[in-house]
Structure formats: C-alpha cells, structure tokens
C-alpha cells in the first residue's frame, strides 16, 4: 500500500472518530444535557448537531422531552359520604427543566414514583370533600368532576415544577367501585329489574281483573235487564189471564166454586192416597142409597 492510501485511511478514521466522539445530535422532541465530569454545563433544547469534547471530558445525558403520559396503578379512595371509589388517573407531562429533572428524580421510573405519591395524596384530598353525587349524577349541573380534574391538574402542575416537568393535563380516566360494591350494585340492579318485572305482571293482572269484572258486570246487567223484562212480560200476561178469568167466572161464581172444588179433589188424591171411609159416610150412603132416592 502506498503512503498516500494509508494517510487517506487514517484521515477517514479520524473523521469518523471525530464524528462519534466530538459531536452530539439532538433530535426533535429531545433535549441533551452536556456534562463535564458529571457537572451539567449546558442544556441543549433545540434540535441539531453540537460539538463537544470527547469522553470523559464531556458526556451527554439525553432526555426525552416529548409529551409523555404516566398511568399509575388505580387506587381506592373514600368520598365525603363514605363511599369507596377506585380511581385510575393519567398524567400528561413533558420535561421542561432537564437538569432539575435529573437532580430530583433521575429518570422516568423515579418520576413515576413521585407522581404516584403526589396523585394519591391530592386525589384523596380532593375526593374527601366531595360526595358521590358530585361525581355521578343524573343532573349534569350538579357534577363537579371536571372541576376536580382541573384542580388536580393545577396542584400537580405546581408540584411538577419542582421536578423539572410541565404537567399539561391530569385526568381521572376511570371511576370504578371496589369489587364487593360492584357485586352489591349488580344485586341492586337485579332487584330493580325484578321489581320492574313484577310490576309489569301485577299491572297485567290488575288490568285482567278489571276486564273480567267489567265483563261480569255487563253480563249480569244484561241478564238482570232481561229477567226484569221477562218478569214484566209474564206479569202482564198473568194480569191479562186474571182479567180473562175474572170476566168469565164472575158470571157464575157458584158454578166456578163448584167446578174448582171438583178440580181440587181430582188433583188432591194422588196415586198412593189411602181413603178411609166411615160406614155412614155420605159417599157410601150415596153409593148405596142411590136407587132408594130414585124410588122416592
């Protein structure tokens, strides 16, 4: 190999090493802290390429300054009216002061710990003075949930400043009941449905009874009316019959009485009637003395 080539290769190697060791690139949405033996010297917030001394004179701590979201595990809280609620919150933030961030929490994990503590404390504080009806209510005007979120954001934002972050929004993304209470709600919902179901059936029976009673009433009215009409008809007919009988019988009451008596005899003696006659009875006399009378 000629010397020229060796120089060229060395030059290329030097350039590459220079790029690797003496420059640092800051990407859009990131920040870098330039440190000299562990002491922060400069915070680079704008994207681009920057010069630095090689390690160990200068070292670079790269910080993710993008909008980030923390979602600590849900926690249980008590409302002013002693109702247990499980709240799951989310915190949207970005790192605004990288040096302070590094100093106070070191990394994302440290931040998560701090934010979790802060959230639990502030949420407990805010929820402790609210009733369940301030969070869930059929009347939207009585709900103070959004105000609570705004207040929470304000509080966490103030605390976040000390950790080198800007909190853009804190929101309680879920409000849930503990497991036992959930079961109780299911139980109540079941009872409520049962009540509605029973109400439907009872309403049905109520209507059915009414319909039946009305039908009965109408039926009896119809029959009664018919009976009354029938009685009148019959009465009229009987009256007419009486008139007819009266008109004719009055012409000879004695004869009528005689005929009626005879009719009565006929009807009175049934098949099994036993007749006991005295020897001297008129019938026997008449029977046996019928000829004598003729002779007379």
């Amino acid at each position: 190999m000629k010397k020229k080539h060796i120089y060229l290769m060395v030059f290329i190697l030097v350039v590459i090493l220079f790029y690797i060791l003496c420059t640092t690139v800051v990407y859009q949405g990131r920040m870098s802290i330039l440190m000299s033996f562990g002491k922060p010297v400069k915070v680079i917030t704008n994207p681009g390429i920057y010069l630095k001394f090689p390690y160990p004179f200068n070292s670079v701590e790269k910080i993710d300054a993008r909008l980030n979201m923390l979602q600590p595990s849900p926690s249980e809280f008590l409302t002013a009216d002693k109702k247990n609620l499980i709240l799951e919150s989310a915190v949207c933030y970005r790192i605004s002061d990288p040096v302070l961030f590094i100093k106070t929490v070191r990394n994302k994990k440290g931040l998560e710990m701090r934010i979790t503590d802060l959230l639990a404390s502030h949420t407990g504080l805010l929820l402790g003075v609210k009733e369940l009806s301030d969070i869930i209510n059929i009347d939207p005007n009585k709900i103070k949930f959004r105000d609570m979120n705004a207040e929470l954001t304000k509080l966490i934002r103030i605390d976040g400043k000390d950790l080198g972050i800007y909190v853009s929004q804190v929101f309680i993304k879920r409000v849930m009941l503990p497991y036992e209470n959930t079961l109780a709600v299911y139980k109540r919902m079941r009872a409520e449905r049962d009540r509605i179901a029973k109400k439907y059936i009872a309403e049905g029976e109520e209507q059915a009874l009414r319909i039946k009673a009305e039908a009965d009433k109408e039926s009896r009215t119809i029959i009664a009316k018919a009976k009354s009409k029938a009685s009148i008809i019959k009465g009229k007919a009987e009256a007419e019959a009486m008139r007819i009988y009266g008109d004719s019988y009055k012409k000879n009451i004695g004869f009528y009485r005689y005929l009626r008596t005879l009719q009565a005899y006929e009807k009175m003696f049934g098949e099994k009637t036993m007749i006991v006659l005295d020897e001297k009875s008129a019938i026997l006399k008449a029977l046996f003395s019928g000829n004598k009378n003729e002779k007379k």
């Binding site: 989310a90 209510n137 019988y249 004869f255």
Partner: protein
C-alpha cells in the same frame, strides 16, 4: 504458484527458521482466534464466530505444519515420517471443509439475532478489534509466504495463502461492522462469504495433500514383490494422467471459481477500491426512500426537521446524519375503548354478538376495565366506543409525543366515563345514545386542542351499550314480564269476549221465554174462560143433574185405583198418617162427612 518440491532439503538452518516462524505464527494466530472469539461473544454475532473459526483453521494449519516439520526433521529414517506433512494437510482440509459447511448452513437458519449487531460500545470495540486483526493477518500472510518461498515449504506457502484469505475475511467483517454502524446490515451475506472462503481453503489443501503423495513411488517402495518394469511404467503413466486431471480440477476450483489466488494477488488494489466504492455507493443508496400515497415523510437532518415530503421518491443524507420518519397522515385511525379488534383473526364468527357474549376469544376481545362504567343513577353499564381521528400535524404526532395513540385512548376513556356519569342507565341504553355520541365528539375535539397530539377528531361511535353480563338475565326477564303482562290481559279479554255474548244470548232467551209464557198464559186463560162460559150456559139449565154428573165424574176419577177402607160404625175412628204411624189424631166423622158432602 511456486513449484512444490516433494523432497524438502533437511538442514538444521531450515529447520530452525521454520520452527521459529511457526512459533511466531502460532502466537499471532492464538491472539487472533482469542480476539475474534471475544468479539463474537460480546456482540453475539455469528459472523465474528465464523471469522474466529477461519483464524482457528489458520492456527490448526500452523500447529500441524510445525508438527510435520518436527516429525520430518527428527524421524527422517521412519518410512512414514516423510509423508507426515501430507497426512497433516489432509486432516486439516477435512476440519476446514466440515467447518465451512457448518458456517454456510447456519446462515440459512431463521433465528436472526446472531446476524444483527447491536449498536453501542460492543460494536465500537469490535470495530477496533477487527481493524487490529486485519493488520496482523496481512502482515502474517506476507511473512509466511516469504518464509515458505525461502525454505521451499509447501505447507508454509499454503499457510500464507490461508492467512491472506483470513485478512480478506477480516476485512469483510470490518466493512460489515462499518456498515452496521450506519444501519446497513449485510452480516448474513458476509458470513456466507466467509464460509465460502473457509471451504475454498479446505478444498485447496485437500487437493494439494492428495497430490503430495507420489503413488507409483509409494507402491514400488512398499510392495513386497518387485514389480516388472512394464507394470511400473504403466502405473506411472496412469498416475500422471490422474495427476493432470486432478490438477486441472483443482485449478478450476481454486483458480477460477473461488477467487483465484493469482487474480487476488494481482488485483489487490482494484479489489480494495472496488469494495470501498461498492460500500460508499450502498451507503449513499440508503438515503433514498419512498413515501406511500397515505403517508407524509418528516425529513430530519441532524435531528432537526428540515422538510415535509409528499408521496414519491425522496433523498436524505444517509444515517446517522439524516433520517426520515414516515407518518400515516391520510389513514383514518381508530381508537377503541372497551374492546380491542384482532385484525388477524380468521376463525369462525358467532351467529350473533349477544349481550352475554364474553369476548374471551374471537375477533373482538374485551377490555373490561374500560368497558364497565358508572352511570348517573349509580348503575353499571358495559359499553364499547370507537373514536376515529386523522393526523393533521405529523411533527406533533410523531416527534413531540411519545405515544399519541395511547394518549388519545386515555383521553377518550376519560371522556366516556365522564359523560356517562350524568346519564341514567335506561336512557343511555335507548333514547340518549345519539346525544352521548354528539357530546363525546364535542368533548374530544376540545381535549385534543388542550393536549397537543396533532390529530383531528372525525367521529365517535357508541358501538355497543348494554347492562353488565352479570345482570343480563334479569334484563331479559323484564322483557319476558312485559310479554307476560300482555298475555294476562289477552286472557282476560278472551274471558270477557266469551262471557258477554253468552250473557246476551241468555238474556234474549229469558225474554223470548217470557213472551212465550205470556202468550201461553193468556191463550190458556182465554180458552179456559171460554170453556167456562160455555159450560156455565148449560149448567144453569140442568143444574141438579149436571151437579150430580160432575160430582160423580170427579169422585170416580178421584177414587179410582185407591185403597179404600170402610170402617164399621163402632170402630174407634182414627186416621193413620202414612208417614208417622205413632201419631194418631181423632177426627170427627161428621166434620169429615160434611166436607166431603159439600
């Protein structure tokens, strides 16, 4: 190639020189093998491991060459000793051929981790290590060939050639690492090439080892019976022909197919420069990129956004100076709350997605922690929502947020739970669905204004809303109860419908019967009256006769078929009641008679 003498001159000078050179070479080889092995361990790369094997082959050759030289020098009276060098070369060739197959076939395995470097400190160390290895390999190669030529040792020249190829493989690894630093991965290809190099060396040594043995001479010196001259000549002729054919095959394989040694030696510069040119071209080529119709390219230079690319072919400075981030700006993205869609699902669909469907498997999987929400009337509801959005600011979406999609999902979840908190369950399930969707769209639009994720909300849909699975049977029971209510009412109506016509019929019957009775009554009365009047007319005329006649007719009829007892006068008069015989009543016969008489 140098002419290889089959009978090296044994001299103490040559022996010393060769042994010294061998020890130097062994030291260098051990260092190279250990270095490459160490580098392959820290990077976990198969390429470096293959390269270590290549150097290991080099070491083996040197060791065996040393052995053969010692054997040749110290046991020269032994018949076998002078063939030791050939036997050793043969053994080495087998080891190398086997090793090359292993490397070549391993390249085709599916596990890719061994063929990609992880950038970082290990890569830098490997880079520096391989640079040193290259330098050592090339100097050792020159040294060995020179020594071999000087002392006329076939083994040493072969070793030098092998070391030269070792330099080339090391250089290949160096290039691969260099490209790997710029995210251009040719590890697999390079490993394959190194494998081919090992194979090539193996075959070359194998052929040379075979040719090393002079068969006719061997036959004549080892056969007990002396062969005839004719036979010896014919054997020699056959062997020479065989040697010629074999040399031809050997030269075809090693000189023409696999990077001929002469050609490599002649075109060293060209090779190096063409390699460098190829690498540079490849490197610059990585700067070209394609933006698809639904994408927008965010072009970065040293981490700074310099341009936004519409669909088409574009160029940026290759990594690590420039970069591009492709964002799907035209695609309508969707965020799901309460469930997740498994887009790759190809199994069977259920007949219908009923309320009690648990979604533990299938196209949709449930996310119960998002799905169950509290309603305004303190009930629980199971809901699935979808939010459609489009990226309007790719920089905000891709560069200023860590995970915009998840932030949107969380905001969506928050809005859903907040909005549902002021609706009552029954209205939520039925009447207010549209209202809820409109409210959610409005609120989500506000939310993405407050939290800059670079998207625009297009629509929100309530995909499903039903009571939680635990209370679904009771909800169904309500529907059943409603039906039961109707059933009861229908039955009552049926009763009424049955009763009233019957009653009307009965009433009509009563009235008609009464009319019949009246007619009958009047007619009978009329008849009777008329009959009386007719009888009366004639009765008055013959009163006494008629009286007797009628009286007796009646008596006949009345007394007919009756038991009549006539009591004698002196008998005590008693009347026995037919029913109660113990009660006796006296009756005055006169009275009785009188009543009859009248």
């Amino acid at each position: 190639m140098n002419e290889i003498s089959n009978q090296p001159e044994p001299s103490s000078v040559r022996f010393k020189a060769l042994v010294n050179a061998s020890f130097l070479a062994i030291g260098a080889d051990i260092f190279l093998v250990l270095l490459k092995y160490f580098l392959s361990k820290i990077t976990g790369s198969a390429l470096l491991a293959a390269d270590a094997l290549h150097s290991g082959g080099d070491l083996a050759i040197t060791l065996t060459v040393l052995t053969s030289i010692i054997v040749n020098h110290s046991f020269k009276k032994n018949k076998w000793a002078k063939h030791a060098e050939g036997i050793v070369a043969l053994l080495i060739s087998f080891v190398l051929i086997f090793g090359s197959f292993k490397v070549i076939f391993d390249v085709f395995e599916k596990e890719g981790a061994r063929y990609s470097f992880t950038s970082g400190i290990p890569l830098v160390i490997a880079f520096l290590g391989i640079s040193i290895a290259c330098a050592i390999a090339i100097s050792m190669s020159h040294f060995k060939i020179k020594v071999g030529e000087k002392h006329n040792s076939i083994a040493f020249i072969a070793e030098g050639m092998h070391t030269y190829s070792d330099f080339f493989t090391s250089f290949g690894v160096w290039l691969t690492l260099f490209l790997g630093y710029f995210s251009i991965h040719i590890e697999r290809v390079m490993t394959f090439i190194v494998g081919i190099f090992i194979l090539r060396i193996g075959i070359k040594i194998l052929i040379k080892a075979i040719l090393f043995f002079n068969l006719p001479e061997l036959l004549s010196s080892y056969s007990k019976k002396k062969l005839s001259k004719k036979a010896q000549e014919s054997i020699k002729e056959i062997w020479e022909r065989f040697v010629q054919i074999f040399k031809k095959i050997g030269s075809t394989i090693t000189q023409k197919i696999f990077f001929p040694d002469d050609w490599i030696l002649k075109n060293k510069k060209k090779l190096i420069f063409s390699n460098i040119f190829l690498v540079i071209t490849l490197y610059i080529g990585t700067g070209f990129y394609n933006i698809l119709p639904f994408q927008t390219g965010v072009k970065l230079l040293f981490g700074e956004v310099v341009d936004m690319n519409p669909p088409g072919l574009h160029f940026h400075l290759p990594k690590p100076f420039g970069n591009v981030i492709k964002v799907d700006t035209q695609v309508i993205a969707r965020v799901e709350s309460g469930f997740r869609t498994n887009w790759n699902y190809e199994g069977a669909e259920p007949e219908a997605y009923l309320w009690e469907f648990t979604h533990t498997e299938g196209r949709f999987s449930k996310a119960p922690e998002e799905a169950i929400a509290l309603t305004g009337d303190e009930n629980l509801v199971d809901t699935n929502f979808i939010c459609y959005y489009r990226i309007i600011d790719p920089i905000k979406y891709a560069l200023n947020c860590e995970n915009s999609h998840e932030i949107i999902r969380s905001l969506f979840c928050y809005e859903i739970h907040t909005v549902l908190a002021h609706y009552n369950l029954d209205a939520l399930l039925t009447l207010d669905r549209g209202k809820i969707q409109r409210e959610l769209i409005r609120n989500m639009k506000e939310e993405v204004k407050i939290t800059p994720v670079g998207v625009e909300i297009l629509n929100v849909f309530m995909r499903e809303a039903h009571p939680p699975i635990e209370v679904v049977p009771e909800y169904r029971a309500v529907a059943s109860a409603r039906e039961q209510k109707n059933e009861i009412i229908h039955k009552a109506n049926a009763y009424a419908n049955d009763l009233l016509p019957r009653s009307r019929g009965n009433a009509e019957t009563d009235i008609l019967q009464s009319y019949a009775f009246a007619t009958e009554k009047v007619d009978i009365a009329d008849g009777k009256a008329k009959s009386f009047l007719l009888k009366n007319r004639n009765f008055s005329k013959y009163k006494s006769i008629n009286k007797i006649s009628l009286w007796w007719e009646t008596v006949e009829k009345a007394f007919k078929d009756k038991f009549i007892y006539i009591l004698p006068i002196k008998t005590k008069r008693r009347v026995y009641s037919s029913e109660k015989k113990d009660k006796i009543k006296d009756i005055k016969s006169d009275k009785y008679e009188n009543s009859l008489g009248e």
